[in-house]
Symmetry: C2
Amino acid sequence: MSTAEASRIAEEMRHSPVDHLHALVAADMAATDRVIHDRLGSAVALIPDLSLHLIDSGGKRLRPMLTLAAARLCGYSGDAHVKLAAAVEFIHTATLLHDDVVDASSLRRGKLAANVVWGNKPSILVGDFLFSRAFQLMVEAGSMPVLDILAGASAIIAEGEVMQLKSANNLAVSEADYMRVVTAKTATLFAASAQAGATIARGAADAIEGLRAYGHNLGIAFQLVDDVLDYSGRQAQMGKSVGDDFREAKVTLPLILAFERADEEAKRFWTRTIQTGPQHEVDLARAIAYVENTGAIRDTRVAAQRYVDAACASLACFPKSEMRETLLGVAGTSVARAG
Amino acid sequence: MSTAEASRIAEEMRHSPVDHLHALVAADMAATDRVIHDRLGSAVALIPDLSLHLIDSGGKRLRPMLTLAAARLCGYSGDAHVKLAAAVEFIHTATLLHDDVVDASSLRRGKLAANVVWGNKPSILVGDFLFSRAFQLMVEAGSMPVLDILAGASAIIAEGEVMQLKSANNLAVSEADYMRVVTAKTATLFAASAQAGATIARGAADAIEGLRAYGHNLGIAFQLVDDVLDYSGRQAQMGKSVGDDFREAKVTLPLILAFERADEEAKRFWTRTIQTGPQHEVDLARAIAYVENTGAIRDTRVAAQRYVDAACASLACFPKSEMRETLLGVAGTSVARAG
């Protein structure tokens, strides 16, 4: 790569490494999108209608991109990675549909959530359908080790979701409890997405492990940043309402740190709004002030940065390449979202 | 087999061919139960608690028995069929958990349904967990063709569940619509359970197809009998409330036939109770009288018998054996439940 080209890439990536990653795997992503749309076909019209409402709602498709990028980084020249990328997006979509039912969410990516438009029943059942389709795609990809990775990841995700039920209305949730849920719910699918791509490409053991660790650490960083944004971001930027976690009394790291550092008055505030109720609309502004003023937001961002650093270190086993630098860029700017 | 032994078997089977089938695969069923209990282990106690509430509630384990019996009938001597039998039971349990949330059921096998005891959220998420565990077990069994069969079956089941949503409160549902739902929701897993056992045993093509067709036809017969029992059975016999389908305004074959044959007064009754409301507790007795008096119950039983005959004919490719005769007995007595 020439110096001029390298600096052009660096310049582009300063703006949006995710867009740059998308450009690097553009042909594969287009093929993945075709598989996604083809495989949603069903005589039952509600299935594609409900699925596409969510799948085509402007999500970044980060997980399938990780699968495709990991396969390419490991020198893959086949086409089974496209089916795996679609499978990963289907698993992710299925968990979002079930999540929104469980959380009774009203918005997802700035649109009405599927459970609001069609009700809980179709959201549950279409989620089950997508999950099954994901496994059919994996079978077509034909790699038993990859099936093992993604079936294991799916079980851990579900376990994390069950674990998280206890985090609502519960100020006794510790930072360690929270990290266990984030690892299971979010990091596991990021890790498995990258690992699956490296595995279908028959990457070397250290390459597969490096990409798995990259996905794992990136996933945790993303979740921490999301949790910060829920107390500070703008709705348009996130595509969901600010204050959702607070209103649903979810105990995330900003809240855990703020509660640890709370004086008596603030403790009473958190106990009422999170644990005993009632919570009023005006409470959100005070909650935001508390997480800001106690340094909880800053320290959650610092924690996210540590995972970003670990994600970047995980790719040290790969030689320098445009793909590797772009993945480093994706990790590097993830915390900037919470700036 | 001696004549004396054959008549002993015939005598035993007259009482309960399902018990006789269970006895034939008793060691394998015990191994399957161990796998089921082992693989429910989780650091999240709610997962085994909720799963075992349903799994240990006295279901007949018919689907895993089919997997085990099919493998044996095809001469299998390995042990991977036990993992598949457990996987089939996990898929079935996951669909029951989600079904009971979707239908807001209060009873399952004579006990409070999991959604009543623990709520909808854990039922949805533990269902997802069991589904993932099922795929992990299939990966361990190591047969890609079996993964293909069961992933495909899972997608069709979910499709059938979505299709069925339209059957509630809708007297326009035809016999053909109803049969499509029954085929997808019930027959598919019966068929796949038997086919998976035959496939792991590397049975001949006609043996695999024969067992698949046996499962398919048996599944339809069972569902038709269940639908009859919902209008006529005793609660203790079924382990669920009589009149559930009527109260939930589900349109099943007895109702479809009764509505086709209804006079003006009966049509007004069905329209009010199923489509427009209100429905009162006293309406159930009149509904039962209508399905009885129009011959709808008798004709649903006749339809079930046709599927029983087809199930039995599907096993013609196998030589006579205790296992084959027992499977014929299971099919033969399934309609007797609705006697």
